[in-house]
Amino acid sequence: MATGILTKEVAIYAVPLVTLMLGLLIGYLAQRSGYCSIGGFRDWVLFRHTRLLSGYLTLIVASFAGYLLFWLITPQAMEHFFWAFTTGLSTPIPGAPGGLNFAAYLIFAIIPGFFVGLICVFLGGCPIRQTVMASEGNYKAAMFFVGMCVGSILFAAVVSGWVVAMMKALGFGG
């Protein structure tokens, strides 16, 4: 069990506050910079523009640097850093539905990745760009956000179970 700077008793109160502050800052700066991961790749393909792409690539490098820094400061809070060395290549960080094997998680990365890219480029932006455009008064982007909210309940209530059952039936059980 990983232990952070705050004790559990304090952290359970700090979670909504700290994440709200983080979100406010990110939302403000994302609006000012037009931050978008999908747009980064799109602009590079279309115009060889690297402005947005640099934002996303910097995020990957900076997250490594950030986790490394805090791993040095509070190693007990970064229990499995660097994941590939502590846990191995064949187990992903939890997030996807559990109980399946490595091949399933690789499929879960590649197929959704491809279609998230394909769908979002037609909509004109990745989830954060849509959320920021919604806050700028774009009703279409707001409908995308409403779709994500409804989709959250749908995934938890039914889709998650279907996906796991299907993958197990196909022989991807872990």
């Binding site: 990983a2 952070g4 705050l6 952290a11 700090a14 979670v15 909504p16 700290v18 994440t19 709200l20 983080l22 979100g23 800052l25 990110i26 403000y28 000012r32 910079s33 991961s37 790749f41 393909v45 279309l46 995020l59 900076a62 997250s63 490594f64 950030g66 986790y67 805090f70 509070t74 809070a77 970064m78 499995h80 660097f82 994941w83 590939a84 502590t86 992903p92 960080i93 997030g95 996807a96 990365a109 990745g113 998230v116 394909l118 769908i119 480029v121 990745c126 989830p127 920021v132 806050s135 700028e136 009703y139 279409k140 995308f144 409403v146 779709g147 909210c149 989709g151 959250s152 889709v159």
Partner: protein
């Protein structure tokens, strides 16, 4: 401040700081910022509180008094930035466009949840050392390139 690379660096560092601060509240790791998962936590967490249901959400949001609020922050932060700089413009669409965007939102969230993150958490997971997340990013780039080329082709055939 207005360069995307500045925000990219900031999210990376703050996501790590947020984990260092809050991880005692619960797993998972590399969860500092995610538009899809944090939307899921916020919606399902509030629905669970209101209707006493038990929809799935990340342990950190389940254990805390309220779920993660990052997405609410992004909405408010974006709104304030747009208002302050006179960039808030109401842009309406037709019913067909609303329906397409709504369905796309539903579908993108299912895809993101199957993987376990949006493009941002994919970047955080990659930085944390999970190479399946790198596969997601490469596949996403391939999807964007395919989509962009399709759009180019369509635009060219309309010109003829």
């Amino acid at each position: 401040m207005r360069h995307p690379a500045f925000l990219g660096a900031l999210i990376g560092i703050l996501a790590a700081f947020s984990q260092a601060l809050l991880i005692s509240a619960g797993a998972p790791e590399a969860y500092g910022f995610c538009v899809a998962c944090h939307t899921r936590d916020l919606v399902n967490g509030l629905v669970n509180i209101i209707t006493n249901s038990n929809l799935a959400l990340a342990p950190i949001s389940r254990n805390a008094i309220l779920p993660v609020m990052s997405v609410a922050g992004v909405l408010i932060g974006g709104f304030v930035a747009a208002k302050v700089h006179n960039e808030h413009r109401v842009k309406k669409g037709d019913f067909r466009a609303y329906l397409i965007y709504f369905l796309a939102g539903v579908v993108v969230l299912q895809l993101a949840m199957i993987f376990g993150g949006c493009p941002y958490r994919a970047a955080l997971r990659t930085g944390y050392g999970d190479f399946t997340a790198l596969a997601f990013i490469i596949a996403m780039a391939a999807g964007v390139i395919a989509g962009t080329l399709l759009m180019l082709k369509r635009a060219e055939s309309e010109e003829d």
